[in-house]
Symmetry: C2
Subunit: 331 residues, 2 copies
């Protein structure tokens, strides 16, 4: 019997112990984007408004503050991570042909594909340039490796579109690369910047990766099963692009061969309509409505376990609350 | 009266003093691209076949050898530069909708836009990851800055399409950013890796930038005025994309207002045919056939002057021959 959903924890409340630090991160992000004129200035101003939940900066800063006072490296890593994330959003919108991003026209819609590709490249180069100026080789090497892993994850996801044989382990591998490694690097480098040794760094990286996997699983779950009004954006885009996500993998495992082939044909048919409704009904009929969320919960539990590497503090509590937030968030 | 064109110097002959070093660069490029399986392996194998003239590696190695023996940093810079260059080629082909690249299908044609965008990103990230491993901060900072400048140049070029008011100085600024700075960084970092001080580094950077500007001017000249059979690729692509290049800027300066507006309308008309022929006739009628090449010659002369910072050697001679090659090359 479904239990009543927990009330959505307020992200601002979770971030309360690092409110001042996140303001500093915000100032630095805005100042990185403010020194341009002409079209590049317009582009920068536009993506500056994309301002999302700043999850990556908060993971970095909380991880750092749990082990010491905030310093410049925390801020630099936070800004670099958010900039790499923004670059991938700009390119994602090109790939997905997305019209809007956080209720604003996507760069793609407003400036066209070419400018979007080039502007994404520019943001990426800018992130690296900032990263190169951080006087800590480990930070640089970690971020360079992370960018590579992320691109590879996106590539793997793309070449596996309409690959209905995709196993859960392959899906997790893709999600881990394209989304979770950046969270892992934020958590690890936050700790590193506070002088943490290799063991704590490793635990924090694992925390970030588990958190990131849960985060992406929930995103993918909502895109297929969510309620558009509640989530606040167009859903079903993964289905249209042939991205085989966890709820589908769960369903495929339950379907008899013949039915499975029918569903594959339905998803592959560019002319078919109402795909999402049909699939949601099937998923519910097989009792799989919370299949993906249950997996996300497992990763959240894993993430929280890793936090035992940190001393008790309001920052550690906030990291724990952030892990919970990832599965209950709705938009 | 036109003089008989000089015979095309053989690039292999110019490269002869660094034949062994360029073989080592080639081995390293191929080994960077060889360790992949699946689609990424196919993509890597495909772009490995794009192998062009390796101009950037040769500028780096010649600059380095003119000041000392070859070392790992020379090779790393050469590989990073070629990898960044390859990444921009992959994205350029997306932007230009190019079908072929060096007589092979473009990544775009074979794998589609999405894979091309992501694979370009991946090559870019890979270049940075390799760069981050070079134990010399100046190399990293220079390359990071260069990548930023290149992306900005491409963006500026793109937003200035069909901007018929583009001044020669703006054109040179764009060309300098998108093409020449990478040559400048190769020349500078080659010298730096041989232990050169700030003055020689500066001269070599200026050499590379002047060489790069001349290189791009010739490219743009050939795209408008060249002979397809002789150049060996489809020409007129700049015109189709509304890129206002130096031969056009020279022509606009000579045309009376009314004729100028007619030409602008012709270029802007997506349905007009035979644009290139009409423009070439106009350019010849105004005695401007060699207008852009004359400018390129000036940059070559400037590049060669900068070489006086180097001691006399077969490597310095080769750099001089390379500067000459840039304006006489035909494909």
């Amino acid at each position: 019997m479904p239990t009543k959903p927990a009330p959505r924890p307020d992200l601002a409340r979770i971030h309360q112990p690092i409110a001042a630090e996140l303001e500093e991160v915000e100032r630095r992000i805005q100042s990185q984007m403010a020194t341009y004129q002409g079209v590049v200035g317009d582009l920068m101003g536009h993506v500056a408004k994309f301002a999302g939940k700043r999850m990556r900066p908060s993971v970095c800063v909380l991880s750092g503050r749990a082990l010491g006072p905030a310093n410049t490296v925390h801020y630099d890593v936070a800004v670099v991570a958010e900039m790499i994330h923004t670059a991938t959003l700009v390119h994602d919108d090109v790939l997905d042909g997305a019209d809007t991003r956080r209720s604003l026209p996507s760069v793609n819609t407003r400036w066209g594909t070419e400018v979007s590709v080039l502007f994404g490249d520019y943001l990426f180069a800018k992130a690296f340039s900032l990263c190169a100026s951080i006087p800590n080789r480990d930070v640089l090497l970690t971020m360079a490796e992370t960018a590579k892993v992320m691109c590879l994850g996106e590539l793997l996801q793309n070449v596996n579109r309409f690959n209905f044989a995709l196993a859960e382990a392959d899906y997790i591998d893709i999600v881990s690369r394209k989304t979770a490694h950046l969270f892992g690097s934020c958590a690890e480098l936050g700790a590193l910047a506070s002088g943490a040794g290799p063991e704590i760094r490793k635990s924090m990286r694992e925390f970030g990766i588990a958190l990131g996997i849960a985060f992406q699983i929930v995103d993918d779950h909502l895109d297929l099963i969510g309620d558009e009004a509640e989530v606040g954006k167009t859903l079903g885009t993964d289905l249209d692009k042939g991205k085989v996500t966890l709820p589908l993998i769960g369903l495929f495992a339950q379907l008899p061969d013949k039915k499975r082939r029918e569903v594959e044909e339905l998803i592959s048919d560019p002319k078919a309509t109402g795909k999402r409704g049909i699939l949601v009904d099937l998923i519910e009929a097989h009792g799989l409505r919370s299949f993906a969320l249950d997996r996300a919960d497992e990763y959240v539990a894993e993430a929280k376990e890793k936090l035992s590497a940190l001393p008790r503090s309001s920052f550690r509590d906030a990291l724990e609350a952030l892990a919970d937030y990832v599965v209950v968030r709705r938009h």
